[in-house]
Amino acid sequence: MSEQSPHRENSDVQSPHRELGLTDHEFELICEKMGREPNGVELAMFSLLWSEHCAYKHSRKLLKNLPTEGPRVVMGPGENAGAVDIGNGYSVAFKVESHNHPSAVEPFQGAATGVGGILRDVIALGARPIALLDSLRFGEPDTERTHYLVDGVVRGIGHYGNSMGIPTVGGEIYFEPPYEQNPLVNAMCVGLARTDEMVRAAAAGAGNKVVLFGSLTGRDGIGGASVLASAELDEGDDAKRPTVQIGDPFEESKLLECCQELLAEDLLVSLQDLGAAGLTSSAGEMASAGGTGIDIDVGLVPLREADMEPFEIMVSESQERMLAVVEPSKVDAVLALCTKWQTASAVIGEVTDSGTFRILKNGETVGEIEVEDLVDGCPLYDLEPEEPAEWTYPNRETIAADAAVLNIPESDRAIAVAIDGNGRRVACDPFQGTVEATLECAANLATVGAEPLGVTNCLNFGNPEKPGVAWQLGRAVEGLAAACRALEAPVVGGNVSLYNETPQGPIYPTPVVGMVGELPDPTRVAGRPWQDGDAIALIGPFDPSLAGSELEKQRGQLSKGLPAHEIAPIKDAISLVRDAVRTGAVRTATDVSDGGVVTALAELAISSGIGCEAGLDPVIARRECDPEDALFGEGPGGFILAGDKAELEKLGGQGVDFELIGQVTGNEVIAAAGESRVEILVDEARAAFESLEERIESDQAGLTH
């Protein structure tokens, strides 16, 4: 299911193009470009490729401002996923993608097919997926709907990933009211590829064959386009037009191995997965990227159901399919490998030099569109941003994790991956909130000694036609660009999900940032628990404030705006921590995020089973802040480090703010600031932390598969 706008303009009036979500203006433009009215097949194809999801009508202009180049970039935006070089002939491919709307409709399959989709984007580059991360947002933990959604989504992600043998190594989950009806399910996949075996999506070479392989094509996800169904199908046949796609990880597992072998034997010119808008977008985009034309004969497509119409075949979103361009002399070898892997395959067309996308049915033309009109012809809209004078979001819970480390023996090093995004803070201040999400990723990487190589992102926002949302989107992208530029971390890919709104209102604007970094030694990651007697330091230009904080949320008084911070000194702190971790100078490192210093200390205490005594008066003195700010305030740029006192002290006096704040001891977390004092038994803190799991536990049995 593609993530099109659930709210269409003028859908009240009966007219195929409107029902398909095209505006009158867009329809006129299509007629003008074609010099005639499109027929049903063509209209279906236009409607999907000119949808927000495929055409990026409201975001493409903004995305042009992201930094995308760097010495390590192997593939950037425009490809199925981004990729960065990690040396020794290997690259890491990665991308994050949303499956929000499908997960709201059917959480298990929605999340499962979301994972399937992001895996295929990475597989399409020629990479073998090695890890998954997810970034999830739900409503409050105590509601029946949240239980239902969490249960389905978590099982769906697990089912697909497990069945492929790909571990979920990290992620984050937040529970906040604006996501109650519109949950966010963003999945990130990281894959490993031999750089010289990687393949691009661009079609090339007139006369080369187009091979479709993988699952059979059925009526999955045809949804909106079913208005084009022929008259014979009456209402009662609705069941014949399923829109919920079913994920089949077994098929995907075969596809993965098949693609790996096809590329190892150098049999492909290009490769592309079939995602939203199925054959239409994959074939169209391959031709567009290569500046070629393409002929597809729907009569040659292996079908799951016999009587499918050409438009259905062209827009079907059946999962687990790939499209390849193959030189004629290699076609037999390609088909043989597909047979070996027990996956259906067929030559369904040819690359041409006509610049035209021609649809045939058993040799007879049934549709003909200029590739450029289809893929690049959609008008791109300027946003009409306006900073809202007042905003309201219903207002609460978070758990977060630092970076995951993956050993890559092939390249003789390790990589680290992290994913972050705090929608509440972005709601308070879209620019600063997005800068913080990006910095937090880099900070998480630093705690395992990793340096950023590249960034991916998923922009989850409401309806961009609304000035307030447009403003949020614009400011968030500016923040992402600014932070990535400062970190010298190019954005190599991503995804945009707009129209995340329900009658209850929009979601929090939620840019999710994913980052991949490299580290020299996976045994030095400062992820070890702290030990009794360790000194504790707070390091970095951390200037805590309650604005947008967890505490403020608990009090139900969310403020507008976040304090601005310079990025450069934060970057220096990140570098210092990274180097300290790499040399083994610190045992334990974590960044200060949700819930401030007290929460960071409590998390370290819970994971080690040992408490601490910390005094935050030096923070109050340096920042001239209130005790409460020092204890619970949030903001970027702070790290808690623990280890040998003499080693830690060496980190002072290096141009980065540094204070020793206490030591590891006892069975209580004690933090004092001015007159204020927090004391909690480690066991109590743990019980509170673990109780969340019970609160979100589903009442359902988790039966369906």
Binding site: S163, S253, K254, G702
Partner: protein, 227 residues
């Protein structure tokens, strides 16, 4: 010792198994190769691993379809001739389905997929795979499965126990799936076929936190040298 690691459509731990076999032999790619599920010639191989994963998607029943593959017919013959065969997770399920090992594996008691590091107690089985392990000792390796509840009807269970076919038990309190008698792994009567649910192949390198799994792969060579 040269290993063959079976590969079915849907297998996913075959690479780690290959790596474990190679490390067990002291390193080097010559010590193990993949065996495609349609192959029937196992000559030149001294041991077989049926790896974990989701052969045929685990559809119908885990292991039900894979056991019909041509390679499994060859493996049955290999086992009948005394060759060492190790089934891990899905491989264990395949070996039970094909009758090379007694019992069956059912959906975990709590129906959920589990994934965590856990402890196993080594049993008394007379199996080449246990040659490097002391009975009663503990090893720590990952548990990772959704259908790992070992079951055998009472008489069969009694037989398995009395003939010393229990190779591994989950450590007290760690039974993750409701297996009868805490059984995590069993051998055939002769001892040359071993199946277990947990994953020794994921615990062979220091980086992963435990290298306890390596001994199982080293066992057959040790046993061979001793005999």
């Amino acid at each position: 010792m040269k290993w063959g690691v079976l590969q079915f459509p849907g297998s996913c731990d075959e690479r780690d198994a290959l790596n474990a076999c190679q490390l067990a032999g002291g390193g080097g790619p010559g010590q193990a190769r993949l065996v495609w599920h349609e192959e029937t010639d196992l000559s030149g191989l001294d041991g077989i691993v049926v790896p974990g994963g989701f052969s045929y998607g685990d559809y119908l029943r885990a292991g039900a379809i894979a056991r019909f593959s041509p390679a499994m017919t060859a493996v049955a013959e290999f086992a009948a001739n005394g060759g060492p065969v190790l089934g891990i997770c899905n491989g264990f399920q395949v070996l039970c389905e094909s009758g090379l090992l007694p019992g069956a594996l059912l959906t975990n008691e709590r129906t959920r997929f589990i994934c965590r590091q856990g402890d196993l107690i080594v049993g008394e089985s007379d199996s080449p795979f246990l040659a490097g392990l002391e009975a009663g000792s503990t090893i720590s390796i990952p548990f990772k499965h959704q259908s790992g509840r070992f079951f055998a009807p009472p008489e069969l269970l009694e037989q398995i126990e009395s003939r010393g076919q229990v190779a591994f038990r989950y450590a007290p309190g760690q039974n993750p799936n409701g297996s009868l008698n805490d059984i995590a792994g069993v051998t055939n009567e002769a001892g040359n076929v071993l199946g277990l649910m947990p994953h020794p192949e994921h615990a062979v390198e220091a980086f992963s936190g435990s290298t306890d799994g390596l001994a199982i792969f080293q066992g057959p060579a040790l046993a061979g040298a001793a005999s």
